[in-house]
């Protein structure tokens, strides 16, 4: 390993650590779950209300979203990889779960923004 390699590694690790510090420094307990399919917001749920939702996407894409004890989690899905199911439950702002094959994303926020009235549709 040469000097330049070590410098590169240290720079990347320091930047990464700083980023992670920022991530944990700014995340807060979230109150709402937003669900998006193919770039469009399709649902908003309250994290305090336990519920199970089936998120449909595309032709026959299905992800089961479960909200329990203030945490949101994908419990099952029919996508090829199942990365979204493997993902741990989310409850802090900045956290998200994504299912790329279904172009589906679930993330949590601390409060709903006024300028997006669509978020109240559900």
């Amino acid at each position: 390993m040469k000097k330049a390699d070590v410098i590169l590694l240290i720079v990347i690790l320091v930047l990464g650590m700083a980023g992670i510090g920022f991530y944990y420094g700014t995340n807060r307990n979230a109150s709402y779950v937003l669900v998006q399919v193919d770039g469009e917001l399709v649902g908003t749920y309250d994290l305090r209300e336990d519920t199970v939702v089936t998120i449909c996407s595309g032709q026959d894409g299905e992800n089961i979203l479960e909200i329990r004890d203030g945490k949101a989690e994908i419990t099952s899905a029919n996508c090829p990889n199942g990365d979204c199911v493997v993902h741990k439950e989310i409850s802090k702002s900045n956290e998200s779960i994504v299912c790329l094959p279904h172009k589906m994303a679930v993330w949590v926020v601390t409060e709903l923004k006024e300028e997006a009235p669509d978020t109240y549709a559900y």
Binding site: A4, D5, L9, I12, A18, Q36, D83, V86, M104
Partner: protein, 171 residues
């Protein structure tokens, strides 16, 4: 003429061996039940073969092998979606590796570290592009660190392979 022909045959054999090597490690990796906590993050062992190819046969050869590997492995073990996804990572990482290899002072390990990080960044870009969820950008620091660590391991492995094999091939 004969010499020229011979070197062409040698080149074909080398490319084929390297492609087989790259596909083999991809397959072995697919067999490993190994999760790094963040979904989708993995060791990327195939990069050992790509870094090795980059040093052995140069940028163009490594590019050909990498693209062929992604397409073939996608057809064999993945699907259209995973293929597109690895293609993005493969191209991002190879471009930075080719660039870094040209700069003085970097060894195989540094090149591999940069490749690992950029591979993850490339995939994240595609993910943000496909889903248009900006919160995903919070993954950047995690993916940087994972990319650097896996790149370090892969680079070290590639160097070990290179040291042993290069003498044999150059005979």
């Amino acid at each position: 003429m004969t010499k020229n022909k011979k070197s062409k045959v040698k080149k074909i054999a080398e490319y084929a061996c390297l492609l087989a090597f790259a596909m083999m490690v991809s397959y072995v990796e697919a067999l490993l039940p190994f999760q790094l906590g963040i979904p989708g993050a993995k060791l990327g062992l195939a990069n050992v073969a790509i870094v090795f190819a980059l040093y052995l046969i140069g940028a163009r050869g490594a590019f050909c092998i990498n693209i062929s590997r992604v397409i073939l492995c996608g057809l064999l073990f993945g699907n259209m979606y995973s293929m597109l996804y690895s293609l993005a990572g493969a191209i991002f990482s190879l471009l930075i590796m080719i660039f870094l290899k040209k700069l003085p002072g970097f060894s195989m390990i540094g090149v591999s570290i940069a490749g690992g990080v950029m591979h993850n960044m490339g995939q994240l870009c595609i993910a943000v592009f496909i889903t248009s969820v900006p919160v995903l950008l919070y993954y950047v620091p995690f993916l940087m660190i994972i990319g650097a660590v896996t790149g370090l391991l892969n680079g070290w492995l590639a160097k070990a392979v290179c040291d042993r094999v290069k003498k044999q091939i150059e005979k």
